[in-house]
């Protein structure tokens, strides 16, 4: 469907990639760790390697959780935009097929959050 309006109602999306000064948005959801209330919204360089992304962005973002130290993110189970995904650590985000406003879901088996209730 489309909006019902008095005139031709067409506007540019506000969050196109060109508005982010060479960077792009990437969301990361770590299920069963709701200490972080929602997926992280991260600003990343498209040409950084996936390995660097895990080291310099994911690890600091998750560090406050007691499971973070035990998590092996690189070898965890990943979804990219809800599809199974095997990241290549030495390839860039772009070459891994991660585009602007993509969402990664990373599951770390055996780590079920604080008090075993997904927190």
């Amino acid at each position: 469907m489309s909006v019902n309006a008095l005139y031709d109602y067409k506007f540019e999306p506000k969050d196109k990639v060109e508005n982010f000064n060479g960077m792009q948005l990437l969301y990361v959801y770590w299920p069963n760790h709701l200490l972080f209330c929602a997926p992280f919204a991260l600003l990343v360089q498209p040409d950084m390697t996936f390995g660097d992304f895990v080291e310099t962005i994911i690890k600091p973002a998750t560090a406050a959780h007691p499971d973070a130290a035990k998590a092996d993110f690189l070898n965890a189970e990943w979804l990219l935009n809800d599809e199974p995904f095997t990241p290549r650590a030495d390839a860039s985000l772009k070459d891994n097929g991660i585009d602007h406003k993509s969402m990664l879901t990373v599951t770390t088996p055996g780590l079920n959050g604080i008090a075993n209730v997904g927190y």
Binding site: M1, S2, K16, N32, L34, L35, F36, A38, G118, Y119
Partner: protein, 511 residues
């Protein structure tokens, strides 16, 4: 010459001062004079069927409201002169006012603009007059709320720049975008959204907790505002029901259009009220009732009866009400832990509920609190005691439609986020729920323009790249005064000194 009957009776007066203010145009076409009345597809065959149950005319309105406000301001003065803020239950209560002043009072002003606008757009005089009066009500409420709370601004932090914050602060984009959505719709959708779905179906969930909350917590200024606004609110609710019945009775083609609006605005209102849920359960030191109880009484029972009544027009209860009903067991807890972790970026404080409060929640939420939420607070309390009060140092993903962080969980699976995403014209969009995703699919052109605070920060439009600069410079939140944890805050210390107590933790006092 003697005039026999100088005074008009009420019925004649109403006729002369409202319906007779309209006329059939002869120079211009009606659709040119009221250009917004057609495009939504609502068919009105006879405007004279519009019933105004109050028959209020402008002169009577003016006289009545002036008397009410004279009394109201006398009480505000007395409250200020007697240092009424010292008699509240606890200074944590003031944080509910901070949320109200930044989140709700500006909506009263937005409602005033909305009703003033649609009050010009209907060709029926009865509807125009009703909207104009409600516009003035809303403007008055915005003003009287600010006056009621202004005394607190002299004694507590975070109340100093509400209207400015409303246009900028991340969580205030939730109420702001709600009303922008309604105001940018056509006049019939606006009335279905605000008069019916909000004022009639959901408003008790906002006003009852706030005004009873004020009474339970010794805030006489806000209680008095509540009493003063009550007669207006009753009129707004009656208008809401009248509007919907009138539209439905005019033409059967209106039914599916109205049904879609009810589905949309029930859901948008429910998402907006998630802020109220945490206010009720967490921010009122003396509790009135739980969010779950309020939802049962004011939505499930009253709303249930209403939709039963509307059945004869072919209207069914809102889509996704089952999700909202299920969420009553979780909503306030999920919201409060969210605000707890982002307190560095709010104009109010958060805290871990006290032991008695947690026991109250165990009693009110027997199936969920002890299982899912008490362990969270036990963990957070342990961390805070060890000097590691938890703040989330990354920004959250926001829903493209309701603009709340995508924190909500699936019905029946309270540890799994109900996130959805889709691609529209080559761009990816993310949602907190199936319902918000559906709203996007209905009107994508509207929501692709959403001003999402997190994305705006990352685009460099909020005066800084780091949270501290954005909070201080762009939001006007005074760091260390307005934001962070309640315990040890300047508000907390100030309250202890009013009550003649010393802070329990001397090291925090020295900080």
């Amino acid at each position: 010459m003697a005039v026999k009957n100088k005074k008009l009776n009420l019925k004649d007066k109403y006729q002369y001062l409202t319906r007779d203010m309209a006329w059939e145009p002869s120079y211009q076409k009606k659709e040119d004079i009221f250009p917004d009345e057609q495009f939504e597809g609502i068919k009105i065959t006879d405007w004279s069927q519009w019933e105004d149950p109050f028959r209020l005319t402008m002169d009577a309105y003016w006289k009545y409201q002036a008397e009410k406000e004279k009394k109201l301001y006398a009480i505000f003065d007395a409250f200020a002169q007697n240092n009424g803020h010292q008699n509240i239950s606890d200074a944590r209560y003031v944080n509910a006012l901070k949320l109200f002043l930044t989140g709700v009072s500006p909506l009263e002003h937005a409602a005033y603009q909305g009703y003033a606008k649609v009050g010009r757009q209907f060709s029926g005089a009865g509807a125009r007059v009703a909207c104009q009066m409600q516009a003035i009500d809303e403007l008055r409420h915005s003003q009287t709320q600010q006056h009621a709370m202004s005394h607190y601004n002299k004694h507590f932090n975070g109340l100093h720049d509400a209207a400015y914050m409303h246009d900028r602060v991340w969580f205030l984009s939730v109420p702001k975008s709600f009303f922008d959505d309604a105001r940018s719709a056509g006049p019939f959708e606006f009335l279905t959204a605000i008069s019916f779905s909000f004022e009639y179906v959901l408003t008790n969930l906002l006003f009852v907790p706030f005004m009873s909350g004020a009474a339970y917590n010794g805030d006489m200024a806000t209680v008095t505002f509540g009493f003063s606004a009550q007669s207006d609110e009753a009129r707004h609710m009656t208008l809401g029901l009248e509007v919907i019945k009138f539209i439905l009775e005019q033409h059967e083609d209106n039914v599916p259009i109205v049904q879609r609006w009810i589905d949309k605005w029930f859901w948008r209102g429910f998402r907006l009220l998630s802020l109220v849920s945490m206010m009720m359960d967490y921010m009122l030191p003396n509790k009135v009732m739980s969010w779950a109880e309020a939802w049962e009484v004011y939505y499930e029972q009253n709303g249930g009866a209403l939709f039963k009544d509307l059945e004869r027009y072919g209207i069914r209860p809102p889509k996704y009400q089952d999700v909202a009903n299920d969420a009553k067991h979780h909503l306030s807890h999920q919201l409060w832990t969210t605000f707890y972790q982002y307190s560095q970026a709010t104009n109010f404080h958060t805290w871990i509920p006290e032991k008695e409060e947690m026991d109250w929640m165990s009693e009110k939420y027997p199936e969920t609190f002890d299982k899912y939420y008490r362990p969270r607070y036990e963990y957070l309390a342990k961390e805070a005691a060890a000097g590691r009060r938890f703040y989330n140092n990354t920004l959250p993903q926001l829903c493209q439609v309701c603009q709340v962080p995508t924190l909500f969980t699936e019905m029946g699976a309270p540890t799994k986020l109900s996130h959805r995403q889709l691609v529209h014209e080559g761009e990816r969009y993310h949602f907190c729920s199936e319902a918000c995703c559906d709203l996007f699919k209905d009107e994508p052109e509207k929501y692709v323009q959403a001003w999402l605070p997190v994305h705006q920060i990352y685009q460099g439009n909020c005066e800084g790249a780091d949270v501290e600069t954005v909070v201080q410079k762009y939001y006007h939140i005074n760091i260390g005064e307005d934001n962070f944890e309640y315990v040890g805050s300047p508000d907390h210390k100030h309250w202890l000194s009013i009550k003649g107590q010393k802070p329990a933790d001397q090291s925090k006092d020295a900080a």
